[in-house]
């Protein structure tokens, strides 16, 4: 059985490509929703020890927003989209047509809006993965948490910790106009890894 510790360079390139296509799809979807033209930067794929995941996107005690979705059909697992508070407020203010500087704690409506953005971004990413692998991959409804980065990231850390010692994260940045910085984490269940890699033509 392949472990994440043994993934090769080729898999990284493929993930980066999926990240690019997915982020491209997401950009279009968000642009339509907000009525703005936006660009995004080339994503970077980070491979890091599980123990470092908690501090991988900023301070461990920084409050961030995490949106988590289950993934099912041909592969099983879950995925997460993470944003810093500034990005989350920015998106919510735009969707709610509020003053850009508004930064009161999120209410129920705001959290729904955040879930919707997470849904769109995750869906775009999954359709890119689905397109490249010819696998049917369906997202569940999204769940949101606003808490310390280390606490939210402990969820993927545990998922990766079950297979081995390393975690994979795809970093994405949208244009300054939109002001969203985000991170994807895809967490397939153990037997789904092989399916994805085989479908992508990566030799195991």
């Amino acid at each position: 059985m392949l472990t994440l510790n043994e993934v090769n360079e080729k898999y990284f390139d493929v993930l980066k490509e999926i990240g690019n296509i997915g982020a491209g799809n997401a950009t279009t979807a968000i642009a339509n929703m907000l009525g703005l033209r936006i660009d995004m930067s080339v994503p970077e794929v980070a491979f890091l020890p599980v123990e470092e995941l908690g501090g991988a996107i900023g301070a461990e005690d920084e409050i961030i927003v995490g949106i988590m979705l289950g993934v099912e059909a041909d592969i099983d697992g879950s995925m997460m989209f993470l944003m810093d508070m500034q990005s989350a407020h920015h998106v919510v203010n735009m969707l709610m047509m509020r003053d850009p500087d508004y930064s009161e704690p999120f209410n129920e409506m705001d959290l729904s809006a955040i879930k919707e953005v997470g849904n769109i971004i995750a869906g775009s990413y999954l359709s890119a993965l689905s397109g490249l692998t010819n696998l049917t991959i369906l997202p569940s409804v999204p769940f949101v948490a606003v808490d310390m980065a280390a606490a939210i990231l402990s969820v993927p850390a545990v998922q990766f910790g079950i297979f081995g010692d390393n975690a994979l994260m795809i970093n994405t940045e949208f244009s300054d106009d939109l002001g969203i910085k985000g991170h994807f984490i895809l967490m397939p269940e153990e037997d789904s890894y092989e399916k994805i890699l085989t479908a992508l033509g990566v030799s195991i």
């Binding site: 510790n5 949101v144 808490d147 606490a151 850390a157 079950i162």
Partner: protein
């Protein structure tokens, strides 16, 4: 006051008075604090998963409740802690996302807490306080001078157990 020593994820450390131990942002993980009031030798482990025997890649013993707590106990005994006086306090084990029907690994918090209780029981260490479960992250600090275990959470008052 002494130094504040940081314990990472899947990590464990011990200290003596007047130092203190901290771990930041426990989610579904558990922070197991063991304290010996007679020597003030203290230990803190930040475990991620309940059972090392259920996992193939188990080289880091601090990652699991069973092996992590054992190592913490051994280190404290080696440092001169008095076995009969040791007590424990545990915190963490939250369910960060309320996903119904999610795989058991996502909702591992409860199992982490249960495995920690079992291992401590097996070692004969009494749990005198705990703050586990619910749906939010916790930062903990263990003060070896007093044995107080501080629990900090976003938007909540400081809790001392």
């Amino acid at each position: 006051m002494g130094q504040m020593i940081k314990v990472g994820m899947a990590d464990l450390k011990i200290c003596k008075a007047p130092d203190a131990l901290t771990t930041i942002g426990l989610g579904s993980c558990i922070g197991i604090a063991i304290y010996d009031p007679s020597t003030k030798i203290s230990g803190l482990a930040h475990i991620m998963l309940p059972d090392s025997t259920a996992i193939r890649n188990n080289s880091n013993i601090a990652k699991f409740a069973d092996t992590g707590i054992q190592k913490l106990y051994d280190d404290m005994i080696k440092a001169g802690a008095n076995k009969a006086r040791m007590v424990a306090k545990i915190a963490g084990g939250a369910k960060m996302f309320e996903m119904p029907g999610a795989s058991t690994s996502i909702n591992v918090g409860d199992r982490n807490a249960e495995a920690s209780r079992q291992k401590l029981k097996q070692l004969g260490i009494k749990i005198i306080a705990e703050d586990c479960g619910l749906n939010y992250g916790r930062t903990v600090e263990l003060y070896s001078e007093t044995g107080e275990y501080y629990i900090k959470a976003v938007g909540k008052e400081l809790k001392i157990i």
